[in-house]
């Protein structure tokens, strides 16, 4: 196929495509000239143009159908228009509500994702939790929490466990080797061995271990026995309380077994899991609401369709 044949082929295709628009005089001057140049050399296209023109002329000849009847509307439709006006208002409101619910859902899902990835600061030492732990309403939950005299040597480490697990109450031997039963814990002012404060989302395993070591160390110097406290927010907040006891002396007590401390660290993760569950539940409820709204919108939209 030569270059001229190829050019003819492209011009032929262009003309075939634009014959109808050319007939209506709606081609651009450049395209019109191009079509006319091709029509002059292509009898097939010229004939197609003529038959197309004849077809359009035939269509122009089609006479309008006489109206079989009048289509004037009866007076009863006025009420319908009012009803549809209300439907329109409802539709607009539902549209707004759907957008709001969708945005809320996005917010909650984002929160969930961020929380799962550890981007949100959550933990036992969060200000909210601290304030909760120190609220006066919860103070009576720990009647045993008393201030020891300044002369006391050591601070009492807190041992956290749930009330539902009485086995965590372990009698231990003091420095003199005497075994003692659990007694109310005490906190003592003074000293310089603060327990670590934890910041960030979820206490990591390493953090928990570190907390355990600290608590173990503190416990090892404590002459008082290890106790179990009820599982209250106050109890969960205790590890963060400032302990100002004097520096510990060595070989104080036999070390308490780590499991109760691990439970303590697990207790600290509870707020995270609670919030996470709450986020999931809210997102679930919002998803259901969104589906309902979309269904209603679809139904009303069908009725409003023109």
């Amino acid at each position: 196929m030569g270059a001229s044949d190829l050019k003819f082929f492209f011009e032929h295709r262009f003309t075939q495509k634009h014959l109808s628009t050319y007939l209506d005089g709606r081609l651009s001057p450049r395209a019109r000239r191009r079509v006319e140049r091709h029509l002059a050399v292509c009898p097939k296209c010229a004939r197609e143009l003529e038959t197309l023109r004849a077809t359009v002329e035939l269509l122009h000849r089609v006479e309008p159908q006489a109206l079989p009847r009048s289509f004037l509307l009866p007076a009863s439709v006025v009420e319908e228009q009012k009803r549809y006006r209300r439907l329109d208002a409802t539709y607009s409101f539902l549209q707004g509500a759907t957008v709001a619910v969708a945005l809320l859902l996005i917010f909650f899902i984002s929160g969930d994702v961020l929380l799962s990835m550890g981007f949100l600061p959550m933990g036992s030492s969060s200000p909210a939790l601290e304030s909760k732990a120190l609220s006066p309403q919860e103070a009576p939950a720990l009647p045993q929490l008393v201030r020891a005299p300044e002369s006391s040597l050591v601070s009492t480490p807190t041992v956290l466990s749930t009330a539902a697990e009485p086995k965590a109450i372990v009698p231990i031997r003091n420095a003199q080797g005497a075994e003692s039963l659990p007694s109310p814990p005490t906190t003592v002012r003074g000293g310089s061995s603060p327990l670590p404060k934890t910041f960030g989302a979820r206490p990591a395993a390493g953090e928990a271990v570190s907390l355990s070591e600290e608590l173990t160390e503190a416990r090892s110097i404590s002459p008082s026995p290890v106790h179990t406290l009820p599982s209250t927010p106050m109890a969960r907040a205790l590890p963060t309380m400032l302990i100002t006891s004097p520096p510990p002396t060595a070989q104080a007590l036999r070390v308490e077994s780590p499991p109760s401390l691990i439970e303590a660290s697990r207790e600290e993760t509870l707020p995270f899991w609670k919030l996470w569950g709450l986020l999931r539940l809210t997102a679930l409820v919002l998803s259901g609401l969104l589906l309902m709204l979309l269904g209603t919108l679809l139904w009303i939209g069908q009725r409003r369709r023109l």
Binding site: K17, H18, L19, S20, T21, D24, R26, R47, E50, T51, L52, A54, T55, V56, L58, L59, H60, R61, V62, E63, P64, Q65, L67, P68, R69, S70, F71, L72, L73, A75, V77, V78, E80, Q81, K82, Y84, R85, D88, R304, R305, L306
Partner: protein, 198 residues
């Protein structure tokens, strides 16, 4: 009263104002519906539905051309009717007896009977050709070549772009031409395509 004032009144619930608009557009709307559907009863239903929906939805009309707006509604109604017809195809008895009992041969006393017959044959064949087109091409062809609407009006009434109007019209015309050429023996001799060229 001009059209805008009538629309404004009708939007406030003035049925008389809307009925004046109905009087102005009912012939156009009915003819578009009839050419799309090819059935008088269905076209009447589509037209009535279109005006009813138009009145209900008029508060949502935000200006522009009322003609293209009402035509958009009627094409949607015609499409609904078409779907109903496809689901439940029927042959109305009225159509079978109408031509015998209600012949329009006497509508124009000056027209020769042969001319009337030829005209009817032409209309019938064109209607058949239109029915053979896809719905979208048929709508554009009816609006452009039977109702004489501009490309812009068609684009507005069908909510498609100008380019789509052109391409649908081009393909629709080409298909209708091929249909008429294929059924040329059914066309009256004076209407045959390219008659003088042979």
């Amino acid at each position: 009263m001009d059209e805008r004032a009538l629309i404004a009144s009708a939007q406030k619930g003035d049925l008389n104002a809307f009925n004046q608009l109905v009087l102005a557009y009912q012939e156009l709307v009915y003819n578009v519906a009839y050419r799309i559907l090819g059935n008088e009863d269905k076209a009447m239903d589509a037209t009535q539905d279109a005006f009813l929906k138009g009145f209900r939805a008029l508060p949502r009309f935000r200006g522009g051309s009322f003609k293209t707006w009402i035509l958009r509604i009627v094409t949607n109604c015609a499409y609904d009717q078409l779907r109903t017809m496809r689901r439940r195809p029927t042959t109305p008895l009225d159509d079978l007896v109408e031509n015998e009992e209600h012949s329009r041969i006497f509508e124009d006393p000056q027209e020769a009977p042969d001319d009337y017959v030829e005209r009817q044959e032409l209309n019938a064949l064109i209607q058949l050709g239109l029915q053979s087109l896809p719905y979208e091409q048929r709508v554009v062809l009816v609006m452009s070549d039977i109702q004489g609407m501009s490309y812009e009006e068609i684009a507005s009434a069908t909510s498609i772009s100008l380019g789509t109007v052109k391409s649908r019209l081009s393909r629709g015309r080409a298909k209708l031409r091929n249909f008429l050429l294929a059924h040329e023996e059914l066309l009256p001799s004076k209407y045959r395509l390219g008659n003088d060229k042979r």
